[in-house]
């Protein structure tokens, strides 16, 4: 165990020195489940007790995002991937743990102190039908972030910047006078991307940006995001459940399960040789065009609720390789072959091979 921990810190330190833009350390988030004080009171065995239940959404997550990469976070619904994204953006505050951006801790800053970081990091949301203000024209939508972050800019300069960004994401200048509802999903997502790019950020958090779109439109939006990355040297934190997209888009992949990280690897490495049993099951479940029949690793049971977390490894209840140690002891992320880091006792002990 102790050896494992030192291994992690050894690999983490040079990374940080090299080019880490965002550093997440020991992040935890719980959401209270049982309403206010009176709701928490229970009558148990003749006594009045106060009990609070929590949803343990994130339970100790360490992630580094390197400058210039597209880090994809994958996992099934409820694994906490969107919560991580929201905490990075400061939309939720962590219950425990730290978030460092470019060497400075940002999770404890006041909104005013956070302002300069807000300009450097932007977010694209899943549902472009909900993320655009229905009462603003596209021009207003795109100008708003500039007015906010650059109060000293002249109207002319703002308009110029908006026109330039509209051109670069393929928005017709005529769209400016129209409202969000007049556009299709793909067009709206284009507008949402333009809104994120207009303040010239260096880091973009994209929470399932293409899940609500059709296949042919997905390709257009993904291309747009990749072009923007190349032209503007962007760093992405890309949240998705679509592994085919990850394989194409991601530099590195983080696989999450029930609020913990199972595996972090280079994309190619992860798809060639997944190590964590959950990653293996997840990859085998992608419907491939070449397949005639579904042939996937069957997991027993379902994802447990994050209210009462299982002891030990969160995956042990569904894992075909689980043993007594897995039920007791929480696995740490350990450097494994190919630069991958895996949190699995079975991989560590060599009980399963990739």
């Amino acid at each position: 165990m102790s050896q494992a921990v030192t291994q992690v810190t050894e690999t983490a330190v040079p990374e940080r020195a090299a080019s880490t833009l965002l550093e997440i350390r020991g992040l935890e988030k719980r959401f209270p489940l049982s309403g206010d004080f009176l709701d928490q009171l229970r009558f148990e065995r003749g006594k009045l007790v106060r009990r609070q239940d929590y949803v343990h959404a994130i339970n100790g997550v360490d992630i580094d995002v390197r400058r210039g990469e597209a880090l994809c976070v994958v996992g099934e619904s409820g694994c906490g991937k969107s919560t991580v994204a929201r905490m990075v953006m400061g939309l939720l505050s962590p219950s425990r743990g730290e978030i460092h951006y470019d060497g400075q801790r940002i999770d404890n800053l006041s909104p005013r102190q956070l302002l300069p970081f807000r300009r450097r990091m932007q977010m694209i949301f899943q549902n472009p039908y909900a993320s655009l203000n229905p009462r603003m024209t596209i021009q207003q939508t795109l100008e708003e972030p500039l007015r906010f972050h650059h109060p000293d800019w002249s109207r002319e300069r703002i308009r110029q910047q908006v026109t330039e960004v509209m051109g670069s994401v393929g928005i017709d200048p005529d769209w400016g006078k129209r409202f969000g509802h007049e556009f299709s999903g793909g067009q709206r997502q284009r507008i949402a991307i333009a809104r994120a790019l207009v303040v010239d950020p260096e880091f973009i958090v994209a929470d399932e940006p293409i899940s609500a779109l059709d296949v042919s439109i997905q390709a257009q939006v993904l291309n747009l995001m990749m072009d923007a990355q190349r032209e503007r040297h962007l760093t992405y934190l890309f949240i998705t459940h679509d592994l085919a997209v990850v394989e194409h888009f991601g530099t590195r992949v983080v696989v999450m399960y029930l609020g913990r990280v199972c595996e972090i690897a280079e994309t190619r490495q992860l798809f060639a040789a997944p190590q964590h049993p959950y990653t293996q099951a997840l990859l085998s479940a992608i419907p491939r065009l070449e397949d005639d029949r579904p042939d996937h690793i069957r997991l027993s049971g379902e994802v447990p609720t994050p209210v009462n977390l299982p002891s030990g490894c969160v995956f042990h209840g569904r894992c075909p390789h689980a043993n007594e140690r897995c039920r007791q002891e929480i696995p740490e992320l350990i450097a494994s072959s190919g630069g991958t880091r895996v949190a699995c006792h079975a991989v560590e002990e060599g009980r399963i091979t990739a």
């Binding site: 296949v215 291309n223 419907p287 005639d292």
Partner: protein
């Protein structure tokens, strides 16, 4: 004779702004035990096509023409009462959102018994036994307990299993599944699809699977229809469509998938978006987005703009495309001689 035969189906929605033609000239057939996939983007009309089979389209929608024959019986003109006997009984449906399909105020057992009693003269005890048996078939753990539980007590995957059990309750001939796994996670999706496939094969049930996921279609179905803007543009054996699509739209759809491009490189996107059904372009509805709507000399093909393409046979597939027609006509050996089957208009 095919189990289900849809010919020249025409469905319209009479809206205040004018009539919207949701389905134009749809023809296909389904044999007993066959699994057919209907793919297309949202708004292509694939769900309307499925709903129309059971006459589930609500006003202002109506069937403007064509016929749907199930087991020799014409469904479009059937009285509601007679249709009731087929709907849910011979042809059952699985919808996208399992939470919307199950009644939240009835226990699972009550819903299943209700369904059985609506179609058969049967005692509650027998009905419960049949229900229990079906729950076992879809691998629901401790089924006796589930019968008395309510939908909100179950997870999404479990609910979709129960819906499959309900769909199988009356031993139907056809199951129509409208995006049955879109609301579910990847690993659960794989499980549900395997289950559906297994049950259809075991009980020789025909399946109409509506989806936008080409991967799922490729794994589960034998034949595929591709729809675009209310029309079928290509149909044929799934394998051939996936490996060797003829229609430029189908090709574009498959090539746009991330796995078809080199990682890190741009994806092969189709420019533009599907037109709304209210104003589909004249001629081939796909021509404004199609890279083949120019001929070899670089002139726009007049046919694509003015003429709705008819079906031509290429291999085992039927394709509605002027470009493919020209190719087939130029090289007649390319096409199967008389493969044109009932499905083609």
């Amino acid at each position: 004779m095919a189990l289900l035969e849809v010919t020249n189906l025409d469905v319209r929605f009479a809206l205040r702004q004018g009539e919207v033609r949701a389905l134009r000239d749809i023809s296909f057939s389904l044999d007993r035990g066959e699994r057919l996939g209907i793919v297309g983007e949202s708004g292509a009309g694939k769900s309307v096509a499925a709903f129309t089979i059971l006459n589930l389209i609500a006003k202002p929608g109506y069937i403007a023409g064509g016929s749907i024959r199930f087991d020799g019986q014409e469904l479009t003109t059937l009285k509601p009462k007679a249709l009731q006997k087929i709907r849910g009984n011979k042809i059952s449906m699985i919808f996208q959102d399992p939470m919307m399909t199950l009644n939240p105020v009835l226990s699972i057992g009550e819903q299943m018994v209700e369904c059985l009693k609506a179609h058969r003269r049967i005692s509650t005890r027998d009905a419960r036994n049949i229900a229990l048996n079906k729950l076992r078939q879809v691998y629901i753990p401790s089924p006796e307990k589930r019968l008395d539980q309510y939908p909100h007590e179950l997870s999404g995957g479990m609910r979709q299993r129960i819906i499959i059990a309900i769909a199988l309750l009356l031993d139907p001939d056809i199951i129509i599944a409208d995006e049955p796994t879109t609301a579910l996670d990847v690993t659960i999706q794989a499980e549900i699809m395997t289950l559906l496939l297994e049950l259809c094969e075991k009980h020789n049930v025909a399946l109409v699977l509506i989806t936008h996921d080409l991967g799922v279609v490729s794994q589960v179905t034998q034949r595929t229809l591709v729809m675009y803007a209310g029309r079928v543009i290509e149909q044929g054996p799934t394998r051939e469509i996936i490996n060797d699509a003829q229609h430029p739209y189908t090709q574009g759809l498959i090539n746009a998938l991330p796995q078809m491009a080199t990682p890190g490189q741009r994806l092969n996107q189709i420019p533009g978006a599907m037109p709304s059904l209210a104003n589909t372009p004249p001629g081939c509805a796909f021509h404004p987005r199609c890279s083949f709507s120019m001929d070899d000399e670089g002139n726009p093909r007049r046919d694509c703009r003015g003429l709705v393409p008819g079906f031509v046979t290429s291999g085992n597939c039927h394709v509605a495309c002027h470009m493919v027609r020209d190719l087939v006509e130029r090289d007649p050996h390319d096409s199967g001689p008389s493969k044109a089957s009932q499905g083609v208009s």
